[in-house]
Symmetry: C2
């Protein structure tokens, strides 16, 4: 009970949650799976930011520079990795999670398989839905973003980042799954490290990408349920790489 | 051998095929899977056609009218379902396959699981890659289309249609799978009937959609390998539908 109070915060509407939870359970038909209702946040970061270069078109197909470390004098310190706000905070990687929870009020949920239920998908871009996910001894940041890369054509981008180093991130595979209306869409990839910029990942389009019509097909009453699973990576076959 | 000759036609370049086949096998690591190299066709149909309404923006999110049957006086006759050309042919559903093979030279491949290897993904839109797939006693039409819904931003759309009625189509599920560079993307859905217009399905975005950057991530040397599997649908749980 304490866990749920922590997870859903003070604004929790229990009746709404019950209803959404019931719907999400029906979508995934997996009794016992944790469902986290995630409310949207209108992004306040789309102005001159440290990642402004990442906002350029993906069509340039060059990894935008995103020098998180340029302003960091102590190499052991990392800047705030919150995708929502430009924040001057910097600290050790180990305390990023508590900074995100305490300062940016990003909820954290535990379990190997969870359902992320993003509400109010109709809200205008730019909008973010964010939670942290604690699993296999690590914390991950799940970001769903509605953004207009092409003016007037909002798209949804979903990705998972490890709150850890790129080397640690290589040990995991994450899966995002949508399942509704006799359609199923699955995306599996290695998570990126939060030391890389989430804006770059989305600008690159190296994530689950949904156009508005697909998002509508997978949504139920304005909410999108995304099944999330994280596993440790199998040893990669060298043949698979090429 | 006769089968291969039929399938790949007179323009088959055996050396090229060997090479591509080897690459596709490595991508899917599934020895024994049939690989069909599919060359692109620049679409000649983007002019006033019977499906012109389907070219309107998907953002209107209304199923575009696509009245295949309006000009058909005998209700048992269907028009040509070739997505490439405007063709005045009409005939019974049972002879659509032989019309597509003989008149439009669309190859047909047999097997429950095949790999569709689309070459020359860099070619400008509009371009189509098309084969027929014979499986479970029926024939399916696989269409991969490169199209610019938003000017200057080509996207790839892949879908599978049953050469049969919508009622027959409801009995099947098709899966398209991309797998490369430690990323995996799967799309599963019920095929549409060719009596519905392929242009509508693509305009609706109710198919596998890839932006250019994702297509590049999944491509190898300009070719995109799509794993295809068709199964008979399980009995749908009424709960899954809502």
């Amino acid at each position: 009970m304490l866990f749920f109070t922590q997870c859903f915060g003070a604004v929790l509407d229990l009746i709404h949650l019950r209803f959404q939870h019931y719907k999400a359970k029906r979508v995934f038909s997996a009794a016992g799976q944790l469902v986290c209702v995630v409310n949207p946040t209108h992004s306040l970061k789309y102005a001159p930011t440290r990642c402004a270069a990442a906002q350029t078109s993906v069509e340039q197909s060059i990894l935008p520079p995103c020098h998180h470390h340029e302003a960091v004098h102590d190499p052991q310190l990392v800047p705030c990795t919150c995708p929502l706000y430009s924040c001057p905070w910097e600290g050790h990687l180990e305390v990023v999670v508590s900074h995100l929870r305490q300062t940016h009020r990003i909820n954290i949920l535990q379990g190997a398989e969870i359902v992320f239920l993003a509400t109010d998908m109709h809200l205008p871009a730019p909008t973010d839905w964010i939670i942290m996910h604690s699993c296999l001894g690590h914390q991950f940041l799940l970001v769903l973003r509605k953004q207009e890369k092409y003016e007037g054509h909002p798209q949804f981008f979903a990705t998972m980042m490890l709150i850890g180093t790129p080397t640690q991130a290589d040990n995991f595979t994450y899966r995002l799954e949508l399942n509704r209306n006799q359609r199923r869409l699955k995306w599996e990839a290695t998570p990126r490290s939060v030391l890389e910029c989430v804006d770059s990942v989305i600008s690159d389009g190296d994530c689950l990408v949904l156009n508005t019509s697909l998002a509508q097909l997978f949504s139920d009453n304005g909410s999108l349920a995304i099944g999330i699973a994280i596993t440790t990576s199998k040893v990669h076959n060298a043949e698979d790489e090429m």
